[in-house]
Each structure stands twice: as C-alpha cells, then as structure tokens.
C-alpha cells in the first residue's frame, strides 16, 4: 500500500530506526548505572525511582481524565490495601470507572 518507490525502503528503515531508538532507551539506564558508583545517596535515589515513575505517569493522566479516573484509581488503591491483590485492584478500578461514567462523570 506504500505507493511510491522511496516508501518501499522507507518503511523498513523507519521500523529499524524506531526499534533501534527503543532498544537504546531500554538498555541505556541499566548500562549507565554500572558506571555510576552506588553511594548511599544514589541508592536512595534508585529506591525512590519506581514510586516516582508511577506517580509521574499516573497523576497527569488522572487529572486530565477527570473525576471518573480519580474515583477509579482511588478504588484500585483501596482494593489493593484491603486485598493485596492486583486482580482485585484492577477490577475495582474498572468497575468504579464504568459506574461513574454511566452517571455522567
């Protein structure tokens, strides 16, 4: 469906470029941390990293998605605290989202 001649090579090249860029990001951090001395401070930074990634990913999304998303992730967190189970957390999040949206939130 790629019509022009350039596109015949263009698509494989594009896929290759995207795959290379992605693999680079996947290994760069792991590789880099082998060359950074892990002091007590760096260790604390690494410990704070997972939760920070989670917060930085979810909070902007939730605020942009509105009240239903706020209810849903709150329900997910609540279910996780009570049941300590990811299935329960995801189910609670989806159920509350469907419920809230059916009421127009």
């Amino acid at each position: 469906m790629a019509t022009i001649d350039a596109a015949n090579l263009g698509v494989p090249m594009a896929i290759l470029a995207m795959a290379a860029a992605t693999y680079l990001t996947r290994i760069a951090g792991f590789w880099l941390m082998a060359h950074v001395p892990v002091t007590a401070r760096v260790r604390r930074m690494l410990e704070a990293l997972p939760g920070s990634i989670v917060a930085a990913t979810v909070l902007p999304f939730v605020l942009q998605s509105g009240a239903s998303a706020v209810f849903a992730v709150s329900a997910a967190a609540g279910a996780m605290i009570v049941f300590r189970n990811d299935f329960a957390a995801v189910a609670a999040g989806m159920l509350v989202a469907v419920f809230a949206r059916s009421f127009g939130f």
């Binding site: 790629a2 860029a21 997972p50």
Partner: protein
C-alpha cells in the same frame, strides 16, 4: 528493596518464575490487547501493510511510541522523516532509561549476555510486575522475563486482528479499559510504601509531572517528574 542486598538475595532464573511472571501479568492483558488492536487499526489507516504493522509491533514493541509514530507518519518516508521518527521514539521511550536504571541493583548481578537481550522486552507493565515482585523481597529474574514474554506475544498477536478488523472495541472508555494500566500503577504504590517520609519523593514526582505536562509539549513529563522524585529521594535523609 535495594537495602537488603545480602548474598542470598542474588538474582536467578527458574521455570516457576516464568509462570509466576505470566500469572502476575494477567490483569494487564485486556488493556494491552485493546491497545495493540488500536495500533493495528491506525497502521492500516496509515497505509502500512499487514506485514509491516506486525513487524513493527514485534520489533519496536512500544505502544505509546508506535501510536505517536502513526500520528507523524509521512506518506513519503524521506531520510528526514525517518530521522524524526528515530528522535520522537527516543523521546517517548525515555522513561525506559529510568526503569532500566532502577533494575540495575537487582539484575546487575546477572551476566550481561543474559540481561541485555532480556531488556529488549522491557515495557511498563513488565517493569511494574517485576518491581512489585522484587519489592516483596524475592529475586527470581524469570518473573520479569515471563511477564515480558507474554506481553510481547499478546501485543504482536493483537496487532493482527486490529489491523484486519478495524476498531474492535468502539469505545474503550465506556468499559473502563483506559483505567486498567493506571489502576495497576496505583496499586503498585501500596507494596512500595515505606512510610510518609519516603513518599515525599512520589508527591514531588507527581506534582512536577503535572506541571511539566502543562508547560512542555510531548511526553517529557514522565521523565521530568520521575527525576524530580528520585532527586528528592536522594535528598531525604536515610533512616536506615
């Protein structure tokens, strides 16, 4: 989780770990399926062939980057267009750099020839599953690999019907499918909780990310927020 790094904490591989990784990933599969199908549909609309769309899912294997790439996909893929795709992909996937860095204290004890190929399959969900498992004090690296492998299979497999059938789920929002990933993410904060003092870093990360999402175009807000949180974590005095 990094703090109790004594010798019996060393990472290892096991078949049971692979199965455990697959099991822990099951809650994410519905949304991954819909996400991949959405990419397939979009790729068909942009004029990619069935093979091209499938190969892209298999080789690139990064949902957000693939969707963004379809957004800027040019009919004529000149060298400039391919270069742009390279850098946009780099930017969208910058969060993987941080995820990889956070895996170092755990997987760094394995030989590189085992870790670097495994990292080809690093995605948000596999990182999430592995990190959550690791926070429980266990260290079987196969949990990461099992999770990553099943996600790859589902991602590639779901691209195909998405391409062939068009949008399978007309409105994922009404089914709450857009909230599967955020729910999993938020649920992960529970086992990661180490007291309000440590959670200061998360708060800074969240606020910085929200601010960045308004001020800076593109997908930099995740990386900016995460680095702000990590720096805060480094500055808060350790109580251990």
């Amino acid at each position: 989780m990094v703090s109790n790094s004594n010798s019996d904490d060393a990472p290892y591989w096991s078949r049971a770990g692979l199965v455990e990784g697959v099991r822990l990933t099951l809650p994410a599969l519905p949304s991954v399926t819909v996400f991949a199908a959405a990419f397939g549909t979009l790729a068909a609309q942009k004029g990619l062939s069935f093979i091209e769309a499938t190969v892209m899912s298999a080789a690139v294997y990064a949902g957000m980057a693939q969707l963004v790439a379809m957004g800027i996909w040019a009919d004529s893929l000149t060298l400039a267009a391919v270069t742009a795709l390279f850098f946009v992909t780099l930017a969208v996937n910058m969060r993987f750099v941080l995820m990889g860095a956070s895996l170092r204290p755990w997987l760094g004890k394995l030989p590189g020839w085992q870790v670097y190929p495994s990292l080809y399959l690093l995605t948000d969900v596999a990182w999430l599953v592995a990190t959550r498992y690791r926070a429980g004090g266990r260290s079987d690296a196969s949990v990461f690999l099992g999770s990553a492998a099943v996600l790859w299979v589902v991602w590639v497999a779901a691209t195909m019907p998405g391409y062939l059938l068009g949008a399978m789920v007309s409105d994922p929002r009404r089914l709450g499918l857009d909230l599967v990933m955020p729910s999993m993410f938020v649920a992960m904060l529970v086992p990661l909780w180490r007291g309000a003092r440590r959670a200061m870093a998360w708060l800074v990360a969240g606020v910085a990310a929200v601010a960045a999402s308004y001020l800076i175009p593109g997908y930099w807000f995740i990386v900016i927020g995460a680095i702000a949180g990590s720096l805060t974590g480094g500055l808060v005095d350790g109580d251990d």
